[in-house]
């Protein structure tokens, strides 16, 4: 009976729950789904992390390669993020060149890295003008159940914390680089940005961590990225229902609380990994 009503009038079905301040999966409006993170699962990558936010599963693998720095920024390395939404993760994504959502997500991740300064490109330089690290960060969604951006940012952060770079020295006589795989150093992560996404319903209600169904019914989305000092690294509201400044402030407050929860989780995971 309820299933039939849900198919015929999904929005009305949803409103019945929202009136009681809860959602069909039993969560409250400000509650996140169970977040789990698993790091170091891909042995062929220099750093990796798998994040599950409820059913949404995102895996991030980081590969480090050597390259010559660009001519106009001789002391900077590169970080190249790429978000892929393969047709495996949801029915609506077809195989082929990256669609609009994947490209927009890739741009968002690149902006978060740049805005938060979580990795300073100067730290990736080995020899000025000659050699620098390039970090290829591939974020692949395995199961899409909403809130891709939060899971991607979290997976990226956990994977980067897990990266161990071999030490590289430049031989003075030959001018060639020598890579020492036995001696590895972790990356210097200066800031820890965490994303919190909200869906806007009926122009007024804000719910946190939307599932795929909720995203389809929503009239807008907001994503706030904060760092540990409570500074805003990104406020991303791509159109959708208009919001007042006060509602935006509520989102920011919730995002700052969420940051503390996620930071605790990451610290716990990193501590549990014994150094090799």
């Amino acid at each position: 009976m309820a299933a039939a009503f849900k198919t015929v009038e999904p929005l009305e079905y949803y409103r019945r729950f929202l009136k009681e301040n809860c959602r069909p999966d039993g969560r409250e409006l400000g509650e996140f789904r169970t977040t789990t993170v698993n790091i170091g699962s891909i042995t062929t990558a220099d750093g990796s992390a798998l994040v599950k936010l409820g059913n949404t599963t995102v895996i991030c693998g980081v590969k480090a390669e050597l390259a010559a720095p660009a001519a106009d920024s001789a002391n900077k390395g590169y970080i190249v993020p790429n978000v892929e939404l393969p047709s495996l993760c949801a029915e609506r994504f077809r195989s082929g060149p990256p669609g609009e959502e994947a490209q927009a997500a890739s741009q968002f991740i690149a902006d978060v890295i740049e805005n938060s300064q979580m990795i300073v490109k100067e730290d990736l330089c080995i020899a000025n003008g000659k050699l620098a690290w390039v970090l290829y960060c591939d974020i692949i969604c395995l199961d899409y159940d909403g809130n891709l951006l939060d899971a991607s940012v979290f997976a990226l952060l956990a994977a980067l914390k897990n990266v161990q770079l071999p030490s590289v020295t430049i031989n003075e006589e030959t001018g060639l680089s020598e890579v020492n795989l036995k001696q590895k150093n972790p990356l210097i992560i200066r800031k820890h940005p965490v994303a919190t996404s909200f869906a806007i319903f009926d122009d007024t209600l804000l719910i946190v961590d939307p599932t795929a169904e909720e995203e389809d019914l929503a009239t807008g989305t907001v994503t706030i990225v904060t760092d540990e000092e409570g500074r805003l690294c990104s406020v991303h509201k791509p159109g959708g229902s208009p919001l007042t400044g006060a509602k935006l402030q509520d989102c920011i407050t919730r995002a700052i609380t969420r940051h503390k929860e996620v930071k605790k989780l990451i610290d716990k995971v990193i501590k549990s990994i014994t150094p090799k």
Binding site: K237, G239, L243
Partner: protein, 224 residues
């Protein structure tokens, strides 16, 4: 068709907007067109719609809006795709698409010159093109860019050099109804108070821009 030009300048204490200029209906083929000039940044927008949609793209209950942003040089890349998504969702929020189901509305924006505040110029050009095409809208919107300088001062409508020197650049799309926020995108990091201050400054500047819209449209139709 006679080209209409209107100009506006805003002085909001220390926050000044650059000289605005707008030409409506300058292209003959699209249903609506507008060229918007902010200082030296200019964007040309053309709007086709509501027109017949491809069966794969059509939506059963409302119009399908898609945006194409072409940069001045080179092919559109990931940055343009991300901006197109911002513009598309902003326009979808104001256009009353339910009045034209199973149709397609195409907005094409061509960047003519970029001297800072490009995204807000695109937003303004898009809104003027929507007005010129006569599409039903629930509210108007305008784009305002704020740059936070290293000393904490807020600059509205920054030039390219000011954007580069700033530690954060925030772009807002403000709706005409109650000056609510339709779209936000930020570059660089800032504190929560600074963001709220920029938002307040942007909402004040929005008043001037909406007055400019009104004057442009009035001038355009006063001669007919």
């Amino acid at each position: 068709m006679a080209a209409e030009v209107a100009e506006a300048e805003a002085a909001d204490g220390r926050c000044r907007l650059r000289r605005f200029s707008c030409e409506l209906g300058l292209l003959s083929r699209p249903d609506g067109s507008a060229a918007f000039l902010q200082g030296d940044t200019s964007v040309l927008a053309g709007l086709y719609g509501p027109a017949e949609a491809k069966i794969s793209k059509e939506l059963p209950d409302r119009a399908a809006l898609d945006v194409l942003l072409r940069p001045k040089v080179g092919l559109p890349g990931v940055l343009e795709r991300s901006r197109e998504q911002l513009l598309q969702q902003t326009c979808e929020a104001v256009v009353l698409g339910v009045l034209h189901p199973r149709t397609a509305i195409s907005l094409v924006l061509q960047v003519l010159s970029d001297a800072g505040s490009l995204l807000s110029c695109c937003l303004n050009a898009a809104c003027m093109a929507l007005l010129d095409a006569g599409l039903p809208l629930s509210a108007l919107f305008c784009g305002v860019t704020c740059a936070l300088q290293p000393d904490g001062a807020i600059l509205l409508d920054p030039t390219a050099r000011q954007e580069q020197e700033a530690r954060a650049v925030l772009t807002f799309a403000i709706a005409s109804a109650d000056r609510k926020v339709l779209m936000v995108t930020t570059k660089g990091s800032c504190s929560v108070q600074e963001m709220q201050q920029c938002l307040a400054a942007a909402q004040r500047a929005a008043d001037t821009i909406f007055q400019f819209y009104r004057d442009s449209v009035r001038r355009r139709y006063s001669k007919c």
